[in-house]
């Protein structure tokens, strides 16, 4: 028995010694292992496409694999939060977007621009105003005139309520001296569905970037009346800026690369060099222009300043226009739908209880009951499985995947009456096998802990 245990220990220690220690790596050799870009937005969207192009070019410039992971959800909160909380070693970078400077003003998160060390702004897409090509307004001033005469008549969309393009709409209305709700905002999942709704006549105006509306613009289905940028876009020279039309509103959704706040300056500047080369490459320039993207790149210091300025401006805007902070008169709020479900659930629970009280056995009674011959053992094993998962949750960060999972699996095998040798063999095959499969093949960063394999 003892020798079997010994063989298991031998296997584990063998694995330990096989692993190399990256702790001794110097900052000077950065980057020496794979870099992950966290993209807070979904696969298939604009920011995702952007991140993937940047990743492939970074891979060439930095000489290490660069992968993109999409941490989506919560209107960007999830990904930004994960990026800010990542270890500041330069191996996890975040593609931050303008939402970072908006969300905390709406009380959605504690996360602020200050939680990041910005490395480089990669562009800034000005908000454009799209209408159907057969729309009655020839130009922006006619549209503005219509809104001024009939406030609340027109319906616009582009994002959810309070999303970046809604802010673009509101800020242009305020700059024109109109009420923030002179155009009714219909929420949409994104600019794609919004433009679809615009084409089918459900709404009148869409606010989104030229890059997003490019294909419908070129197909002649939509017209862009103006763009809230400093200057006309190189690729769409016929679309005037708001500034030219007498309303100096600049609003763009920017994106950039950032590290967590306390990243070492050496690493940040090294990354900035790499990004600089990426952005100067001809393939990036081609992608940027053909995609209809816009905006200057900004080096870290300028980017930091402009981000803080945006944060102040957007904060003021959100406070000024009550719409963006959530309160919306006469419309069912956020709790409307859950509340309906909750009432339904209560009714059903009452119905089930009543059925029980009336003494009638339900037809769906479980066919599977805990084992009759050894109920205690069964319950014990049930608890042990749960405990094993909790054990892994508690210790894997500290001890690493191999040790924690190995211990857990060995214990469970033994408890399920697998022999010593078989258990040790199964652990030795399964645990490193799983590690190889996930960490090497699929590039999932499993907890490394003590054995940073």
């Amino acid at each position: 028995m003892r020798s079997h245990l010994g063989s298991w220990v031998l296997v584990m220690s063998g694995l330990t010694s096989l692993a190399c220690l990256p702790g001794c790596q110097k900052i000077g050799s950065y980057p020496s292992r794979p870099i992950t870009i966290i993209c807070p937005w979904a696969v298939g969207g604009g920011t995702d496409a952007f991140s993937r192009v940047v990743a492939s070019l970074m891979e060439e410039e930095a000489g290490v694999p660069v992968s993109v992971i999409n941490r989506t959800g919560g209107g960007g909160i999830t990904g930004h939060t994960a990026g800010a909380a990542a270890p500041p070693d330069g191996y996890t970078v975040t593609m931050i977007t303008i939402e970072l400077a908006m969300m905390h003003h709406r009380g959605l998160t504690q996360l602020k621009p200050e939680d990041f060390a910005p490395v480089m702004r990669l562009g800034c897409d000005g908000a454009a105003v799209f209408v159907r090509s057969d729309a009655p307004w020839k130009d922006l001033s006619e549209l503005v005139e219509d809104v001024r005469e009939n406030p609340g008549k027109l319906r616009a969309s582009g994002t959810s309520l309070g999303g970046s393009w809604h802010i673009a709409c509101t800020s242009s209305l305020l700059a024109l001296g109109l009420a923030a709700d002179a155009i009714r905002w219909v929420p949409a999942e994104g600019s794609g569905p919004a433009r679809q709704e615009l084409l089918s006549g459900g709404i009148d105006v869409v606010f989104c970037s030229l890059a997003e509306g490019k294909s419908q613009l070129e197909a002649g289905q939509l017209r862009a009346l103006g763009v809230m940028a400093e200057q006309r876009h190189e690729r769409f020279p016929n679309i005037p800026t708001f500034k030219e039309l007498g309303t100096p509103v600049i609003f763009g959704a920017w994106r950039g690369i950032a590290l967590p706040r306390n990243a070492p300056p050496e690493i940040a500047s090294r990354l900035e060099e790499i990004m600089d080369r990426v952005m100067s490459s001809s393939s990036f320039k081609e992608f940027f222009l053909n995609g209809g993207y816009a905006g200057e790149r900004q080096a870290s210091e300028v980017f930091a300043k402009s981000m803080l300025q945006d944060d102040l401006d957007l904060g003021e805007l959100i406070r000024k226009s009550r719409i963006l902070s959530g309160g919306h008169d006469g419309q069912p709020g956020s709790w409307f739908f859950p509340w309906i479900l909750f009432s339904g659930l209560l009714i059903v629970v009452v119905a089930i209880l009543l059925q029980g009280f009336l003494g009638q056995k339900t037809a769906g009674a479980s066919p599977q009951v805990l084992a009759i011959d050894k109920p205690q053992g069964a319950i014990f094993q049930f608890v042990e499985i749960l405990a094993a998962v909790i054990f892994y949750l508690a210790l894997s960060e500290a001890l690493g995947f191999l040790i924690t999972a190995g211990t857990m699996m060995f214990y469970l095998f033994r408890r399920l009456k697998v022999g010593w040798i078989a258990s040790a063999l199964a652990v030795a095959l399964l645990v490193p096998g799983t590690y190889l499969l996930f960490a090497k093949l699929m590039r999932v960063q499993l907890p490394t802990g003590l054995i940073p394999w």
Binding site: G44, G73, M442
Partner: protein, 506 residues
Amino acid sequence: MPDALGEAFSIVFSPSVIGIMLLSATYGLFVGAIPGLTATMAVALIIPFTFFMSPPVALAAISTLSAMAIFAGDIPSTLMRIPGTPASAAYVADAYALNQRGEGSRVLGVCLVSSALGGLLGGIALILGAPTLARVAFAFTTYEYFWLAILGLSSAVIVSQGSLAKGCFSLLLGLLLSTVGLDEVHGMARMTFGLTDLAGGINFIPAMIGMFGLSEVLRNVTRREAVADSSHLDSGKIFQGTLRLLRRRPGHFLRSSAIGTLIGILPGAGADIAAWVSFATSKKFSKTPNDYGKGSLEGVSDASAANNASLGGAWIPALVFGIPGDAVTAIVLGVLMMKGIQPSPQIFIKQPVLLYSVYIVFFVSNLLLIPMGYLAIRCGRIIIRIPRGILLPAILLFCMVGSYAINTSLFDIGVMLIFGVVGFFLERHGFPVGPVVLGLVLGPQVEKNFMFSVIKSDGNFMEFFSRPVAGTLGIIVSLLWLAPALLALRRWSRRRSMGLPGGRPA
């Protein structure tokens, strides 16, 4: 269009995709052949891998795997009288009885060929049916989608086994859980308890892995050991007389496949119900109804064609409306949404390559089923004897790493754990798990379509019935919900008049 077809062919027939299909086929046969592990669990555990594949490849892996697993479920049915997956439960008695008479190889041969042909017919139904439906669905607005989703969810509750109230409970629980996180309409946080991890909502993948994977492990450790040693199989020729049987009754075969496909289309009803219904229909029209349940090869053939045919049917509403026809396509929907593809009539124009790949895969995987299934039958006894003590912890490990892999987040392992335990207890107390998952997947869509409709209509509920299709769907949904109540009332009043105590609605 031909370009897209060509591209789809070159995707599916590239060596790496064929390799992935062979791997997932092996995995599917393996899991399907092990009693107590379902096809749905097999799919839930493969999601983390599909996450790293391109959409057509991911769908190829999933559809191959589910076809294989549903067939492989017949192996332990025949050998041990224990269905490998719930889809084989309808004819387990017949298959086992035939094996006792020394006809096991023949039974499995019939199962295999019926499954493959049933699967092919289901695939053909998908290819013909989905684009037709998509053309109709093009004119749909949020009102129609709202009613369709409600119709799908309602029928899922009504066909799920057990009491209606419990089905409703599961569904509402799933829908309510789907509202956790920032809502898409207003961007406000709901029920997040200040946890940033919950801001994006409950991650659907770990929830699925918990409900179908971990709860299965828990069920297995709390169940008595299966009696494995009675298994035996004659060494007869597997395909002897199979074709003759099928050629003798092509009409029956078409009927069973049609039943399977239709039940597959129905949201919430999958392969298991398809097999039961087809078996019952087969018995009703048979010349030898007395054999059914005691070893009827016809019954086995009809039911096993139906359960594989249902797989193709289930993809139809999933691809056209984004309303899954069964638990596997519910997972498929989740995978597609993670990849930024929202199934809708639009994908028939925008993603022709993806669709053609799915079509081609349905043919390839069902043809692949014959040789792979043959091997599985030959290795059946070995697979069944793999010790549970090794298998269950291994599944647990994959549940954990798989949940973690999607977002590299330990929090998701916690989600998996909680859903596993909840799923285990729900099932033990007769609450179906399927509707919880459907609710969780469809919840955001239902809410969005509902809220956008409410905002558009300015709170006037009659607008929901204002368009012809929306109105019709709305009335169907209302009838669907009123029908059980009316039936119960009638039965109650009849019993009342006969002086009997009131009965419970069935």
